[in-house]
Amino acid sequence: MSHLKAVASRTLQLALVLWAVVTILFLMFRLMPGNPMAAYIDPTFTVEQQQALMAQFGLDKPLWEQYFIYLGNLLQGELGQSFRYREPVAERIFALLPNTLILTFSSLFVAYAFGILAGAYLAWRRGSAVENAAIPLVLMTRAMPEFWLGMVLLAVFSFWLGWFPAGGTRPAGADYDSLWALYTSRDFLSYLALPALTLAIYSQGLPLLLMRSNMLDVMKEDFVTMARIKGLSNWTVVVRHAARNALLPVMTSFAIAVGYQLQGNVVVESIFSWPGLGRELVNAVSASDYPLAQGAFLMIAVVVILMNLIADMLYALLDPRISHA
């Protein structure tokens, strides 16, 4: 029972965080210099027309009133109308969300599978030449700008070798019966490959380094020494005891990584013209389409906060010291 309570209290805390982020977002978009409508008000409009437009978006009311309207709308899932597309922001964002999630999760799965195995291997081979060479290399991948890596991969595999398309999610003119058909098509995979690889190369460093240093820590624990005194096989000691314990924090870092990745996607999606939330955010900001930018930002923030919560819960779930308190 106490677990439910703990989860509830953490959820409540994060709901407050979400509210704070929403408020910051509102203030950013309302208090920043410049009339948000400026880009969309045709100079030929009459003053009445301009005011009508302002009223349509609720921008003529006092700030506090706008804030409560905004909060009320959010609670109903209403994110407003995009200036540019003249369609509900929510619809547009939910249409783009799957693309972003597919890119994020596919790259992270690859990154974590590789990172965990390689990290465990490097811990096992600690002090070897392989490890001494690998660690700086891994650190270098963490130091790479993701978009630069994307550029290099594009230049080599797309423009030079021509193995993969340069951007988008589907060939021009291609049509699919359903989203499912699109996502399972071979074309889609070839479009997904480069951006996912880019993100995966960048992301594998975290689980790798974490797994390695956890393994090294755990290998020094008394229970690992005891497992050796018990005469258990090396495999049992390393895999069942050391790796099993080292894996815990790595698993929870996955959820956090999803949040981080979503932020990083902003640039990579732009490079590969991947129609996701991040690219939409960049385009909307460039085009001063504030409702859309605000909506995309909010969506990303929601996922980030949600993932922080999931990380906490995952930790509590996977560690018997907490789940069986």
């Binding site: 008394d222 229970f223 050796r228 018990k230 005469g231 314990n245 815990l248 018997p320 069986h324």
Partner: protein
């Protein structure tokens, strides 16, 4: 079949530290007769824990057994290949660690960890292992319902009982207990010692009990081995060593220990100074710098571990004068004058 289950002869263990090395154990010799509890006693850094671990041959990465023999059941297990040694571990030589909390894997239930040993090392079937788990828990006095619990769900004393159950799982001949009750409160400490003694008698096994506490030795051990600075100072039957100590260090320890059974007005007497730095041990007897009885030869020559009365060995140049020294050592001034 020899009378001694274990005979350690001139054991040397050294640690690599920086560019040099430290001989944490420098020629330790003692015997463990079958069916007895032997207390390995000494202060921190005297090498007692290193000896205990060396007997399992699972030692720190930077440690190495550099010499001597460990005769277990007549076979020198310091010299056998690792594969043969591994076969002996836990089936013949089991271990009870100081902190059961850190020595049990936190992510598995106690039952899993018992099963792991019973099945992987003992070759029991799943059904046999389950029955054995239950009977082991019964032996150490824990309800079998708690088998499914995780280590952190037990109290310190209970966890130590789990560690005992784990050590007895495969009916070993020798159990090495490394400070098994040090972290516990006096009441639980006493209860665990009672349990250990009861099981040892019932199963007829031998136990090496590593401790810094003479009272623990006095309470439970048949024999004792007193270590100082990597060497054995004195070894023999517990009562003999404690009531008629022949090494000045043991005599000094007796004076330094508060005794609830003694008179209220007694004065404790410390042994002045501190144990030597093992990176640069003094020549000759390592206790000589703190010893009120040291003579010239003490600082030049290491005293051999010699039998003074049957079964009681001492490493002291003045061992023959022991009865006299004992009387002088009982006076506080002896130790103060030296300081």
């Amino acid at each position: 079949m020899t009378a001694n289950l274990l005979s350690v002869r001139d054991l040397k263990v050294s640690y690599r530290v920086g560019n040099g090395h430290i001989d944490a154990v420098d020629g330790a010799s003692f015997d463990v007769p079958r069916g007895s509890i032997v207390g390995l006693v000494g202060e921190s850094g005297c090498g007692k824990t290193t000896v205990a671990r060396a007997l399992t041959r699972v030692i720190a990465d930077n440690a190495r057994i550099t010499g001597g023999q460990i005769l277990f059941d007549g076979k020198d297990i310091a010299a056998i290949p690792e594969r043969q040694m591994n076969a002996l571990r836990w089936r013949d030589i089991a271990f009870i660690p100081q902190s059961a909390m850190n020595s049990l894997d936190p992510v598995y239930t106690v039952e899993y960890q018992l099963n792991e040993v019973l099945r992987r090392r003992g070759g029991l079937s799943a059904r046999e292992a389950r029955m054995r788990c239950e009977s082991l828990f019964e032996m150490v006095g824990i309800e079998k319902g708690r088998l499914r619990d995780y280590p952190h769900q037990f109290s310190g004393g209970m966890r130590q009982r789990v560690a005992i159950a784990l050590a007895l799982a495969l009916n070993p001949k020798l159990v090495i207990a490394d400070e098994p009750v040090t972290a516990l409160d006096v009441i639980v400490q006493r209860q665990i010692l009672d349990q250990l003694r009861e099981l040892q008698t019932m199963l007829g096994i031998s136990v090496i009990l590593v401790t810094h506490d003479i009272s623990v030795v006095a309470y439970i051990c048949d024999r004792t081995v007193v270590m100082y600075a990597g060497r054995v100072a004195e070894a023999g039957p517990m009562a003999g060593v404690l009531t008629r100590p022949a090494h000045p260090y043991t005599m000094g320890l007796r004076n330094a220990f508060p005794d609830l059974a003694g008179a209220a007005s007694g004065t404790l007497t410390p042994i002045d100074g501190a144990p030597p730095n093992l990176a640069e041990p003094p020549p000759g007897c390592r206790f000589a710098p703190r010893c009120p009885f040291s003579i010239e030869v003490c600082s030049t020559e290491s005293p051999p571990l010699a039998e003074i009365v049957p079964d009681h060995r001492v490493a002291c140049h003045r061992a023959s004068e022991a009865p006299v020294l004992r009387e002088i050592a009982a006076r506080t001034e002896t130790w103060l004058a030296h300081a």
